[in-house]
Symmetry: C2
Subunit: 330 residues, 2 copies
Amino acid sequence: MNRPDDIVREMLEGMALAFPDIIRLDSQWNNVYRRYRKPGNRVALVCGGGSGHEPAQAGYVGYGMLDAVAAGHVFTAPPAPQVLAAINEVANDVGVFVIITNYTGDVMNFGIAIKMASAKGVKLDYIIVNDDVSISDISKRRGTTITILINKIAGAAAEEGWSLEEVKRVAQKVLDNGRDIGVALTPCILPTTGKPTFELAYDEIEFGIGVHGEAGVKRMKYIQSRELAKIMVDAIADDLKLQKGDEVALVVQGTGGTPYMEKFVFYRDVRMYVESLGLKVFTSWIGEFFTSLDMQGARVAILRLDDELKRLLVAPAYTIAIRTPGIVVS
Amino acid sequence: MNRPDDIVREMLEGMALAFPDIIRLDSQWNNVYRRYRKPGNRVALVCGGGSGHEPAQAGYVGYGMLDAVAAGHVFTAPPAPQVLAAINEVANDVGVFVIITNYTGDVMNFGIAIKMASAKGVKLDYIIVNDDVSISDISKRRGTTITILINKIAGAAAEEGWSLEEVKRVAQKVLDNGRDIGVALTPCILPTTGKPTFELAYDEIEFGIGVHGEAGVKRMKYIQSRELAKIMVDAIADDLKLQKGDEVALVVQGTGGTPYMEKFVFYRDVRMYVESLGLKVFTSWIGEFFTSLDMQGARVAILRLDDELKRLLVAPAYTIAIRTPGIVVS
């Protein structure tokens, strides 16, 4: 990098230089908008949060997904005026749907922005995503990978011209049927301090991590990939009460610094275990979707599908990180 | 992972489980073939080498690129009988074109396989890729990212029905006009030993690395992204004698463990410096293309283009890692 303070802006500049046909960067804020706006009679989708989770969220701006993203500094919620600017940029008569991850700063700043926009007459609704199954208190669960699946599915619905109420209904359905869990093999290193976010011995796994380099819910010794796959899938399957015969989408991802070789080995183990439970894998995403800087580790997310979710999940999208149809590797 | 000895097989199984419509895995060897064969009157392309460079090379099997890949163990050339099996699988009347990276083991084992196939009457030709500009002795230069651009461009030519001689001509043109250079911020850790391949202080950069965790040609203190971009681009531009007004393709990639945030910041700096030299960027690839396990670092490759190369570079491809048209992010 260059100056740590410039890292978010320079990253967004890199994305805009590479993909000028998909996004444009707001030079006043670190906000990213679609290069070509959606018709005004479609619900607009706004997301955002701290940076360091790339390709989340700027990588999901584009046809079939998001309209605007407010990118905060590394692991820091964007301030309310920045979120408000993003909302105002895409506001229209049919409504704005705001997708918020369940972290104190995001919930507060996005909440203030929503209140301010509402007071000015902007029609909007929102969802707070809390899909991280490692925390038993549901109100404290963090927003992780299911955020991206909501971006995809609610984005496809909005692109088709659904009402604000219907976009919210399908987003809620994704949240009700989707869960995520993560592990770290290394901490991540903050660009501002150059320091790791926690200490971990070479042969230890941090289980149940968030996406900000927080320590997880427990620490364990190295186990084999297939044993780890079983524990992680079981945690999700129990919470979602998955039944034999259920159709699911699988997301298996690294956490920013995980090599492809390990991602594909782990995907194999997750997939084989999921199928051994009698679940049917409709589609898979393998890659990097909601990361934690350079952390080595893995996240697994499972979404239970019905015909409506299946159709919207594979509907066309054209963003930096996700382009469907077809299985996604990023 | 599970057992280190199984890592390559299990990774390939994961790829085949995720993308059964693109590839199939040969159960006798760790060879990967297209699920659906190309017509018999088209030149077939064979590549391969040690594993640990994912998505290279199995990620490039499919329409518009490779027909067969022989995947060796981690950083180890596949044995000659395995390469021979890959050649025989796709051999046809118009010929087989073999793409070999310039490492002793690969050159030897692929060479033996080519001689054995030739002796049995298989029509074939080959290229040895030596694009790594960090070594001044051209015969010793290693095969890195330009291999992937040859897979893409020669693959598009073969898909269109070019003769073996013409496929070789265009592959040689890519090699003559393309160069690569890499740096490491960390070594990589071998799955077999759990040990790093070299020692590097936290504030040091290893300059001019290969793709197997070899030490580079020199060691330097941390510098800013934009200074590093200048040094790396200059090394390539000097060697290729790039001129103001030349059109180029840019490949900016991580080395397996590099987060997206840093890749996009570095892409920005490379792109801005390349444009400051008066070069025109026709297209860019940003992501992970020819990696070194979990190493943190970056590689830059530049290919000088003419109309023929431009057309073949953006011609349709459908593989696990590269799907064109459009700018590629992987």
